[in-house]
Chain length 205, copies 2
DNA sequence: GAAGGTGATGGCAGCAACTGACATCAAGGG
DNA sequence: CCCTTGATGTCAGTTGCTGCCATCACCTTC
């Protein structure tokens, strides 16, 4: 297959992660990553579309997990429950690599460019979930909304999980956050006329 | 103030938008933008952190609008309602520039880098909304979740508004989408006492 | 009204991310 | 043993972006 050692992609990912932690993300050059992996810069860009992408290798796996979980859910499962089950299905992936996930998240929150990439990956997961819901017959406004709401739950729950000093399970965070979403949306809902809110004055920031 | 013509920032934004539509985003160079605005590349980067940012000049205004609307909402207003009012407060901003908003959105959906930027701007709005909610005494899991859910509503509603051939108001889209969110989250819960859900459907489309 | 300060702009050099075109090498098949 | 194939290397070039310093317009101040 390859020319030299196998698993070039994995070597690049590992070299990148190590270098990012040693010198920081932006003081690490792609050439250095490639060199540590025993490859060249050009080869790096054959495996990853750009420098950021080397930190998001698992996105495809998550997408498949979510899609299949929603698709395979029992027919009577409600859309939101199906999405919740899909998010829960991803929990083990993170549980096994909690340290890696933490280190990675530390990098992401510290670099706006990486946060952007993370957000588009999450949006992609939402899109995949919406597709899967439509495959179950959920009609359009509801499908996208349920998927987006699910991702919102995931974002909040994941953040709390990473910050959680005691290793409470991600699944538990997901469940309680979902309950919180239900509570927050269930309250004084007027399905009909949301009266125009009178704003006081110009933003005095 | 300036050296020559005033409003360098505005000239750069306009030149950029025009060039993006003429040649496309990635076949337009920053040097060309600056030249059309009668400036140099170096000056462009004094006004905008990077090439993408020239399309997101209004973000600060939106942020202030959302923050002040939530802060100034009557005390008895529920968190979700306050967020909904804040989103609604942004509608006029888009209404006045519907054509610009459409053209801009066309560029954004066509370029992943711009979608990333848009997502982080939305996340920033969510963060601002969460801050404002906390300022009203909303405790933490709820504040972030309500803000994120609100942004999810905004994303879906805005998308539908842009695609809407007949110019239905963004406010209307926001309202119906919020109702849809309530409907979708209200159904068969887990920990919560699931109340029998009888809900009129939001406008089906 | 001449001197000096200030803020915006230009000019230039340079780095690093990324790309296209082409050469080269390892491995397997016929 | 040659030839195909896929992964890798090499090289040149573009572009986004930054640091540093000079320059210019405008304003203040004496």
């Amino acid at each position: 297959m390859g020319r030299w050692e196998p698993n070039a992609r994995g070597r690049l990912e590992e070299a990148a992660m190590n270098l990012f932690q040693e010198r920081g993300y932006d003081r690490t050059t792609v050439e250095e990553i490639a060199a540590r992996a025993g490859l060249t810069e050009r080869t790096f860009f054959r495996y990853f579309a750009d420098k950021k992408e080397v930190l998001f290798g698992g996105a495809g796996e998550l997408r498949r997990l979510i899609t299949s979980t929603i698709t395979d859910a029992p027919e009577e499962t409600s859309p939101l429950e199906a999405v919740a089950a899909a998010l829960d299905a991803t929990a083990p992936v993170f549980k096994e690599r909690r340290d890696y996930a933490r280190a990675r998240q530390g990098l992401i929150v510290a670099h706006a460019e990486l946060r952007e990439r993370e957000l588009i990956k999450l949006a992609d997961l939402a899109s995949a979930a919406a597709d899967a819901l439509r495959g179950r017959g959920v009609t359009e406004p509801a499908a996208s909304l349920t998927a987006e709401a699910g991702i919102a739950v995931f974002k909040v729950a994941f953040e709390r999980w990473v910050e959680d000093p005691k290793s409470q399970d991600l699944s538990q965070h997901l469940r309680s956050t979902l309950d919180e979403l239900r509570a927050v949306t269930a309250s004084t809902g007027t399905a009909n006329p949301p009266q125009p809110v009178k704003r006081a004055k110009a933003p005095r920031r």
